[in-house]
Amino acid sequence: MSHSSLGAAACKKFTSSKVAVFGLVVFLSISLLCLFSRQLFSFDPNAIDLDATLLPPSALHWLGTDQIGRDMLARTFAAGRISLLVGLASVLLAVLIGTVLGALAGYFGGWVDNLIMRLVDMVMTFPPIIVLMTLAAVIGSGTGKTVIVIGLLSWPLVCRLVRARILSVREMEFVAAARTLGAGHGYILFKHCLPNTMDVLVVFSSLGFVSAIMAEAGLSFLGLGVQLPDASWGSLISIAREASVLRQYPWIWLPSGVFIVLTALSANFIGDGLRLIFDPKTNKE
């Protein structure tokens, strides 16, 4: 009845979904491994050893070594730190901007909608490469900036999705009911409209997480993204551009790929669990 028991109920609902729990466990373990990789693994992820290049997985190097002899186990998890950070933060940013603007546009309509949607039109039209190139030159490099750039480029889709959903939700009668109870626009938006966008936000977030990770890899050339000697999952996968790496040294890129899929998948499962909390009707089926 109280709020804590509501939280407990939500928890119970969440845990009632096996996949959601599985997702959470996987996600947390990967995050922890990445976060504490430097403490956990004996190798320095950036330590090069030109006498031990391209070694296949062995007892010493569990995931082998790369072209300049770095331990891929340590490197993969160290890369994960950056990728997780970039993925999560930029998706968060995109969702934040997109949801706020989309909600405003969809809910208020009229000139607000017009203004925001024209902004969306504009951002969608900007060729990302040009924006990135210029931004990189103007604002310089760094992980934080990468997050901002990716976030700033990917919010329009969220915005359109949220707006479209809210356009129909705002016509529903319970919204009118809330208004007659004295609910202000903010309250209606947050309490009644936005929960209805959960489904698309969950999908966007888990897909956006992956695209942010991949985008980050592409950005490092522009001075954004991860800088040498550090790596990110995206940049490790990009090494597979080298045909020999792709075919002969899969231990360099495959683990990162697997981890990207795993984290995205678990994020998605978590999202599904969250959806259960928000959608009473899909209870335990």
Partner: protein
């Protein structure tokens, strides 16, 4: 309706102008000078030669002036010349529009159809092994970069099986439609794989959202089969986000699917654009930005019209 379209078109004009101004400012802020881009890093050009080039390209004028001149020129239907080889920008773009649209629409059509079908399938099998398997497959697909997918596809279908060429393009008028399709198959497939995954996720989520609503029960009470209920009642109600995603992707792809085009040497706008950027070819960049701007604005407008067609509660204002 007509009023709405006209209004919207009118609003699009200042939007387009704003886009173009921004792009222009951005490219002028971007490091790298077109004349530098003209020659490789270690080739010597004297200052005099550079000055000649700058003058000839009009780069000795101030940026605002250049922009205004460009707009005036565009108003007369002239997009100018490429810096690099003096080709007409308009010709360059029009020669790429065909392949670009072909690839984009093939990829999107295949992707939409399959993505939606799989999305429906996995929503109906919510939380079963096949649903989970599809989830895994979807994330696998979107986590695989286009270049990797392209190269892998090439290894398999061009090198090992020899079904499709490794790349290139053949216009339908040239060697017939069949040949065009052979060239199209791999790039379109690679493009659609990611799109299938994306749409599948949105379709699935959207369907799960509506499957439990009262009107679905009504439809079942009429005796509709589960499939018909999903297709005719649940699906349309889940369509708005799907249309949004398709629209957004189509918009983006009109500017070219750069990675796919690069891997498969597909002569699309994306590659041309990349070339334009690599060589800081301002008229080309602006020309493509103009084209993309118009196209994306139109697609977005179409999406908005579709919303109100799908959901009559959404009024066009």
């Amino acid at each position: 309706m007509l009023k709405y379209i006209i209004n919207r078109l009118l609003i699009n004009i200042p939007t387009l102008l704003a886009i173009l101004v921004t792009v222009f400012v951005l490219i002028n802020l971007a490091p790298g000078d077109p004349v530098d881009a003209f020659v490789p890093p270690n080739t010597a050009l004297t200052e005099q030669q550079k000055a000649v080039l700058r003058h000839e390209l009009g780069l000795d004028q101030s940026a605002p002036l250049r922009f205004i001149k460009w707009v005036g020129q565009v108003a007369r239907g002239d997009l100018g010349y490429r810096y690099k080889d003096g080709a007409l920008v308009l010709d360059e773009i029009t020669s790429r529009v065909g392949p670009t649209l072909l690839l984009a629409s093939a990829g999107l059509t295949v992707g939409s159809v399959l993505g939606i079908m799989l999305g429906i399938f996995s929503a109906r099998r919510y939380n079963t092994p096949s649903d989970h398997a599809l989830s895994v497959a979807a994330y696998l697909a979107i986590s695989t970069p286009a270049f990797l997918l392209g190269i892998l596809g090439m290894y398999l279908f061009s090198l090992k099986l020899g079904w499709f060429p490794t790349g290139g393009y053949s216009a339908p008028a040239e060697k017939g439609l069949l040949q065009t399709l052979r060239y199209l198959a791999l790039p379109a497939a690679v493009l659609s794989v990611q799109f299938i995954a994306i749409l599948m996720r949105y379709t699935r989520a959207g369907l799960l959202e509506v499957m439990h609503q009262d009107f679905v029960r009504t439809a079942r009470a009429k005796g509709l089969s589960a499939g018909a209920v999903t297709l005719r009642h649940a699906f349309p109600n889940a369509l708005v986000p799907i249309v949004t995603v398709i629209g957004a992707n189509f918009g983006a792809l009109i500017g070219g699917a750069v990675f796919v085009e690069t891997v498969f040497s597909w002569p699309g706008l994306g590659m041309l654009f990349l070339d334009g950027i690599e060589s800081r070819d301002y008229p080309l960049i602006m020309g493509i930005a103009l084209f993309m701007g118009i196209a994306i604005l139109l697609v977005n407008m179409l999406t908005d019209i579709l919303y109100s067609w799908i959901d009559p509660r959404i009024a066009l204002k």
